[in-house]
Amino acid sequence: MTDHERHLGLYRQMQLIRRFEEEAARAYAQGKIGGFLHLYIGQEAIAVGAVAALSASDYVLTTYRDHGLALARGMSPRTAMSELFGKATGCSQGLGGSMHFFDVEHNMLGGYGIVGGHLPIAAGTAFASKYRGDGRVSVVFFGEGAASIGDCHEAMALSALWKLPVIFVCENNQYAMGTPLTRTLANDDVTARAAGYGMASDRFVCENVHQVMEHFDLAIKRARELSEPTLMEIRTYRHRGHSMSDPGKYRTAEEVEEHKRRDPLVVSRTALEKAGLGDKLTELDASVETEVQDAIKFADDSPEPGPELLAATTYKGAFAR
């Protein structure tokens, strides 16, 4: 594969996530999706770059902002959209919803709704990998808002102590709901604490998808070859509100526009155009469009899960009353 071909592939994934979520937002407004819907728009390069650097057998886990990672990992847009629509054809059979995307086939081990609660889980999957010697790496994504919660500390302390092959990725999008970074962390360098745990660290501003891949390459090597954890902090930005109910009044339009100008998806697009691949891009965009529209139609047409699923997904075998 040439570099251009690889780049086109990464671009397509980012564009797919972007368009998938824009359409999800529209479906939400139409009442087809309920509950919470947290969009990843603006941050796509991180999931796509990380996944490109990982092997298919590696484990990934994230927060409720999980559509991007799931799609990057290979979940089909049909399956993903169906889950948002609460349909039986969704990845969690319509029982999980937006916040709880799980795709074991692609080693996407979940989207979690309790801030910080999934960090120990990822340390646990890494523990199992080390125990079995299976060479897998676990990667867990969380926001800077999660950096203060107890589980975050305990997961990192134990991972460093037990030398677990895990990468803690703080996607610092500078807002935890409506709280800006300045009111979340006294020291806004999340990686500063890595030294306290005796863990390697890496910190950068997300500019483009290639850079993300390169940074992950190093951390993955450290995990896979040395069985050592890394704490990574990636500065990024979410273009939309925290969830659909958040109008995002706590930041200025200028600030949002400024970040949109540096959107890694646009950076990729511009670079590919400059390389004379404009026609190819038009073709890819069209195929993404078809895929997303197909996903919506599929989700619309899919059946809803029935009550018989409930007992079967609560206990294995006889129901423990």
Binding site: G35, G145, L310, R321
Partner: protein, 332 residues
């Protein structure tokens, strides 16, 4: 209710209770995620930062265990904190602080210390927020001696119980419902209006069957009662308001009148406050009962996301109606 009243929404009634008590007592402060600058995740604390300033309306990072523990410590030495969780679900990560510090402090210290603190948040189901965000947490907490648990269903009770909670010298867990925040109702403006703990109220009078309920399910029970009235069943609806302490006298008195009871609430059927209510009635009013008591609960599953399945799992007016008919021996 006597004296002038004001028509407000449920969220404002809670806020009125907090604001009045903060004006009255400068030891009272509120801490939680997004309570200040963002004006509250559900706008319950709207305007409070502007009114009281950042010393008394404190935005905390996502550190439930941390700010719960800090507030318990502050309460032990004389402050009277209000701790807001974004929802009760997230109190689970602070459970140890509530269970092992707030609830035990008075006994552990041989009565030297106590923890005057209010924990508050929306509780139980919202709308399609999935299994991790739909817990009815009162059942976990009402189990614990040392804690008090209240759950208002009306605007007046929201204000009155909040004021009583803040004035109480023990930890009080105050359960709201996202689905009630827009409910409108009259609340007394009298700053000395409070609602005592351990006193149920009668939400609807009736002679045939008693429905015992609290919080959002009071409204569902009232709806069920209206339907049942059309079929000639005259149903009394009791709003417990306070889950610990529990108003045994009201339960016994009511069941002595109707001889039949249904307990309708959110939360799983295994154990919990509803089972406690049933135990008290059967123990204290056994001879008064003409039928086994039934419970209408959330079905025994984690909450599914799918809208129809969610409605299937949450207790509905239809299920309350069926249960009332069964205890009245009116089932088909």
């Amino acid at each position: 209710m006597s004296g002038p009243t004001k028509s407000v929404r449920f969220r404002e009634a809670i806020r009125m209770g907090m604001v009045e008590e903060m004006e009255r007592d400068d030891r009272v402060y509120i801490v939680g995620e997004e309570v200040g600058h963002y004006q509250g995740a559900y706008k319950v604390t709207e305007g409070m930062l502007e009114k009281f300033g950042p010393k008394r309306v404190i935005d905390a990072p996502i550190t439930e265990s941390g700010f719960t523990g800090i507030s318990i410590g502050a309460a032990m030495v004389g402050l009277r904190p209000i701790v807001e969780y974004m929802t009760w679900n997230f109190s689970a990560v602070a459970f140890d602080q509530i269970l092992n510090n707030a609830a035990k402090m008075r006994q552990m210290s041989g009565g030297q210390l106590h923890v005057p603190i209010v924990f508050r948040a929306p509780n139980a189901s919202a709308k399609q927020v999935g299994s991790q965000h739909s817990h009815a947490m009162e059942h976990f907490y009402a189990h614990v001696p040392g804690l008090k648990v209240v759950a208002p269903a009306t605007c007046a009770d929201a204000k009155g119980l909040m004021k009583t909670a803040i004035r109480d010298d023990d930890p009080v867990l105050y359960m709201e419902s996202e689905t009630l925040y827009n409910l409108k109702g009259d609340v007394p403006e009298d700053p000395e209006f409070t609602v005592p703990f351990g006193k149920a109220s009668v939400a609807r009078q009736g002679g045939d069957v008693t429905i015992v309920s609290w919080s959002r399910m009071v409204h569902v029970s009232l709806q069920a009662a209206e339907e049942l009235a059309k079929e000639g069943l005259d149903v009394e609806v009791i709003d417990l308001r306070s889950l610990r302490p529990l108003d045994e006298e009201a339960l016994v008195a009511n069941v002595s009148k109707t001889h039949r009871a249904v307990v309708a609430y959110e939360g799983w059927p295994y154990g919990g406050v509803g089972a406690e209510v049933v135990d008290r009635i059967q123990r204290l009013a056994f001879d008064e009962l003409d039928a086994p008591i039934e419970r209408v609960t959330t079905l025994d599953y984690p909450m599914p996301y799918n809208a129809k399945l969610e409605q299937h799992v949450i207790p509905s007016a239809e299920r309350v109606i069926e249960a009332v008919k069964r205890v009245a021996y009116r089932s088909a």
